[in-house]
């Protein structure tokens, strides 16, 4: 019986296992191996050398770039959490009709299914030198000359990250909030709790699993990104992802691999620590 149960599970899970083995585990192992190789300008040479790691870990650029990656992650996490929680709370507790709630939730979801690159490009007419923001600031007399740091700056990088990733906070938090027993809120109110007290003593503690899942998503996406930083900073800022993609562009695969392994270790450590606080399967 136990054998047939295992067998059925294995057969049904076989395609998933095969894809992940071939296109996730094997590639990561390959990156790990190649990270010890050496490279010339034209080719990569199998070897066992710690040179790539030595160079990486002694270069001040590495630390600057990792620091920048953490700064982006922290800023985007704080902003998406604040916005995502507020939106989820509004949808879950202030919208009374189920149909309205679904429509408004879909409204938040749809942009996620459109192109990220197009969504980044669409900030140009807003933030550019002659963009809407500068036109408005100048016509209101707040500034005399166009503000230069709106586009192609850290500001626009963070703005785009928030624009692209807030949904990953909204969805899990909203999902958790919808599962909160409404009688708990009633009980708190009957006992004289103010709206603020209900929020901080009942809703926020019970929303923690959703907040955790959202945090995992946002941190993973921001820390692993390279394209948002490249495009929105106008190639003027670098995070770890860009360090990797620059090496790839120069065909320095061993060096790119070593950086990848370090980034992977950092991301998995952080996500692994967060996973201890939440049982993802139960919360879905």
């Amino acid at each position: 019986m136990a054998v047939s149960r295992n067998l059925q599970g294995w057969l049904l899970a076989a395609p998933l296992t095969a894809v992940l083995a071939g296109f996730l585990v094997l590639p990561i192992l390959t990156i790990f191996i190649v990270s010890f190789w050496q490279a010339t300008e034209f080719s990569i040479i199998p070897a066992f050398s710690l040179e790539n790691y030595q160079f990486l870990l002694t270069s001040p650029v590495t630390y600057q770039v990792f620091f920048k990656t953490f700064v982006y992650a922290a800023l985007v996490w704080g902003l998406t959490l604040a916005i995502g929680f507020t939106v989820a709370y509004y949808l879950a507790f202030h919208i009374r009709s189920e149909a309205t709630r679904m429509v408004l939730f879909l409204l938040c979801t749809i942009p996620f299914l459109t192109s990220n690159i197009i969504r980044m490009i669409s900030w140009i007419p807003f933030l550019g030198r002659n963009g809407l923001a500068n036109q408005a600031l100048m016509s209101l007399g707040i500034v005399d000359a166009p503000v230069e740091w709106l586009l192609y700056s850290d500001f626009s990088v963070v703005l785009a990250f928030v624009h692209l990733n807030t949904l990953f906070m909204i969805t899990p938090i909203f999902n958790t909030m919808m599962r909160i027993d409404r009688s708990l809120v009633e009980a708190a109110r009957d006992n004289g709790a103010s709206g603020w007290q209900i929020l901080t003593h009942v809703i926020i503690p019970l929303s923690k699993p959703g907040i955790m899942i959202g945090t995992i998503f946002v941190l993973a996406l921001v820390m692993g990104d390279f394209i948002t930083v490249r495009f929105m900073s106008g190639s003027q800022s670098a995070n770890v992802g860009r360090l990797i993609s620059n090496d790839i562009a120069l065909l320095q695969y061993p060096s790119a691999s070593a950086t990848s392994i370090v980034l992977l270790a950092v991301v998995l450590l952080i996500i692994g620590a967060l996973m201890r606080f939440v049982n993802i399967r139960k919360e879905l």
Partner: protein
């Protein structure tokens, strides 16, 4: 009904601002894509025309837009079908504990959080080592699945967490085979979510950039083509392209939502007629 608290109005204002933040930029480029032939990348509008849309379809004006669109569409369909089949199977597998299920679950989550560029790099390296040519339909296809499958599986978990097994037991008690139980009982119940997984599969593939960057080979997918354009195009033609691809995405989303709505309505009507007959 009790009166709305004051916070309701503040939160409504916040929500409206958020929606403007989400959609404002996209609407702006949709408007600017109708710039006149002399118009630039920002306001003011220099006349109104469909010049840039025509420009998009002229030969050699930009890269191989149509070819890349066809490839992205085909790849999207392939990824969609694979994602639906594999996620539903895995979702069924995970309903019961089997040896290795916990490890497979963590591996799936890892697939979601591992930076896309690592998948791209790793798959590219493997193909290179084995002397295979990277191609969007092989290496690109596999690399994209590592992104769509975790989403599919998470949706399946959400579905089966809420699934009432007594329907299946009833079917089995009446002598239905395992396949009949799945096809006539389980599948109809989970159908709306399966449509959701299909929509995710197609859209995430159609818009994927990082995972196809080093795995698509010499024939670009549409996002790669668009990104190539961003580095040298300084005319509203890129807005026209953005407007068209976004419109196409919205069309697809609309079609899927319509499918779910129609099945839900048909089912409600059948239930009503059954209730009347009973």
């Amino acid at each position: 009904m009790e009166p709305r608290p004051r916070s309701f109005y503040a939160l409504t204002a916040f929500f409206v601002l958020f929606v403007i933040f989400l959609y404002g930029p996209t609407i702006t480029i949709a408007i600017l894509s109708f710039q006149g032939p002399q118009g630039g990348l920002t306001f003011p509008m220099n006349g109104v025309s469909t010049y840039w849309f025509h420009n998009l379809f002229e030969q050699q004006a930009v890269g191989d837009i149509w070819g890349s669109f066809r490839r992205s569409f085909a790849l999207g369909l392939m990824v969609m079908v694979a994602t639906v089949v594999i996620s539903v199977m895995a979702g069924l597998a995970f309903r019961k504990r089997f040896r290795g299920s916990a490890a497979l679950f963590y591996l799936t989550i890892a697939s979601l959080v591992i930076p896309s560029i690592l998948v791209s790099l790793g798959v590219g390296l493997i193909f290179d080592r084995f002397g295979l040519k990277v191609h969007w339909a092989t290496s690109g296809f596999g690399a994209q699945l590592t992104w769509t499958l975790p989403f599919g599986l998470l949706v399946m978990f959400a579905v089966f967490n809420r699934f009432n097994p007594s329907y299946e037991e009833a079917a089995r008690d009446q002598g239905a085979s395992a396949w009949q139980t799945f096809a006539h009982v389980v599948l109809p119940i989970i159908f709306p979510s399966v449509v959701g997984v299909a929509l995710f599969g197609f859209s995430l593939s159609y818009d994927e950039f990082a995972r196809t960057l080093l795995t698509a080979g010499s024939y670009n997918t549409l996002p790669l083509e668009i990104f190539g354009m961003t580095t040298n195009v300084t005319k509203p033609v890129i807005y026209a392209l953005g407007t068209l691809t976004t419109a196409f995405s919205l069309l697809i989303i609309g079609a899927f939502l319509l499918a779910v709505w129609i099945t839900a309505r048909r089912r409600a009507r059948r239930m009503a007629s059954l209730a009347k007959a009973g």
